[in-house]
Amino acid sequence: MDSLARCEPNASSRFDALVARWRAPRTVGFVALALVVALLPLVMVNNYYYDIAILVALNAIVCVGLNLLIGYAGQISLGHAGFFALGAYGSALLASRYGWPPVVALAAATAGVGLVAYIVGRPILRLKGHYLAMATLGFGIIVSIVISTEDGWTGGPDGMPVPPLTLFGFVLQGERTWYWLAGGCLLLAVWIASNLIDSPIGRALRAVHTSEVAAEVAGIDSARHKLLVFVVSAVFAAVAGGLTAYYGGFITPAKASFLHSIELVTMVVFGGMASTLGAVVGAAVLTILPQFLTVLKEYEMVVFGALMMVTMIFFPRGIVPTLGRYLQRRRP
């Protein structure tokens, strides 16, 4: 519209924008998370708690990426454990069999997974709804079967050992060291995801979620954007997978299983779709909970299954948004 005046951003309005951005709930959430990460060691008594925290952080990284795909872009993946495991096994193989420096191995494996996601994503993302769900499911299962069967490479169902992560000659081992590494990576993941959501790409994704027609008509190439977020979420999963492999010193094909994919999706949906912080909360709750449930060893499955059903029936939007809404209503 030529008749509209072109607004040059001046100094004070830019400052206002900056302040607005700092006050935004997303930034508050990020700061809160950073504080939690920084202060948690004060209450953690022994290595067991550190271990749990690390597992939470690593799961949360996957969930933050998966949330971009499920919550913001409105797609679904029941096979993300496949990307996780490919990142894990990829790093492990490159580092142990070929002697690559672990960080390089991780980077290379992640890039490889990104490529796989790009190739697989193009045909898969043409599907919608249930068909998309089943295609991603099929992908995940194929990955897990291949990993289990090619035991010459992967050690088969028994898994394979993974060399420790080294950085500039320092071996990164031990729960305390890994806590800071995993926590740092989580904060980085959350920061990247939040930036993405606030950008034109994020808006495009949210648009595609609500009305793909309208998004397309506004000039958004929906297929390209869906592929983009699919690849990004796969990369997040691969990084988390690689880190998990290095941390544990060992990986098994169970990490590629359908059950693991379901756990990841449940964490995202439970925590709250379209909420990065929700994904972190979901990962935390659903990683910590089974630790308590091991007490009820045989009842673990029953309770987990029941929990999934109850949450989806009564809190279909997830815990964090439901709580948020509840708190908003209580405010006078």
Partner: protein, 313 residues
Amino acid sequence: MRAKGYPERGWPSAQPEGLLLSAAGLPQGVRAAPPEAVPRTSRPMRPQACGDPAGTLCVERLSKEFGGVHAIEDVSFAIRPGTVHSIIGPNGAGKTTLLNLLTGVYAPSSGRIVFGERELTGAPPHEFAAAGIGRTFQNLQIFFNMSALENVMTGRHLRERCGLLAAMLHTPRLARAEHECRAKANELLRFLGLEDYAHSGADSMPYGALKRLEIARALAAEPQLLLLDEPAAGLNPTEALEIDGLIKRLAATGTTVVLVEHNMRLVMGVSDHILVLDYGRKLCEGTADEVRNDPRVIEAYLGATDAPEALHA
């Protein structure tokens, strides 16, 4: 390049697909590509029959079938830049189908669409948008999960290119671009009287405001040609009058406006040129006076009885 037999996008679709129907010899709605390959990106091509100047939307023998139902049949017309053009017709005449064809939401079964020098036949909707065609919907397609401001900012997508890395790291350059985008979006909201709703969720806005929001969103891309699908539907006479004024203001800036409407007062008052559709075919076209007095149009709307008052509303 699209693979052969690429399945039809179905928005909103009811067309059957599958082996059974193709076996029965019925057309499937798979796009019939013109003899030369349809380019994915624009390639300047001098259209043979549409030799008109730039900015003209030229439609040549356009047809769309849904499994034997001819929704649009052999329609040809040209829309000159800077005019206000209306498409009218009884219910079921195929007006919305035509709009869907003109924005790439449907792929034509045959025929051509050329905008200026750009061949758009068979292109996906975002390429139509990139060519400068914008549109609003009869059934609102507002992004209800965003605020009004974000809706309009999303409309500016084509004007605000952004790389993945820049988005993930929120570079200062992106921050500046976002700031400009926000400013432009606010301008548009003001232009349409929606500045109070800027930060409200779209799901809390009244219907009339949402209709204007869709127009704001479409304008955000700075289109050369704007297609409005029943912009006055569901509005009271005062609001319809505002739409009338809005269309005139848009036309004054040089934007080509194409209107699909039932509100005859609005149509007759604002249009330079009217196209009448009936049963998917072009019934006639011309100025308001020509169309008003055309016996075929009168018959289509009112039957064979002499009662042309409605067209003189």
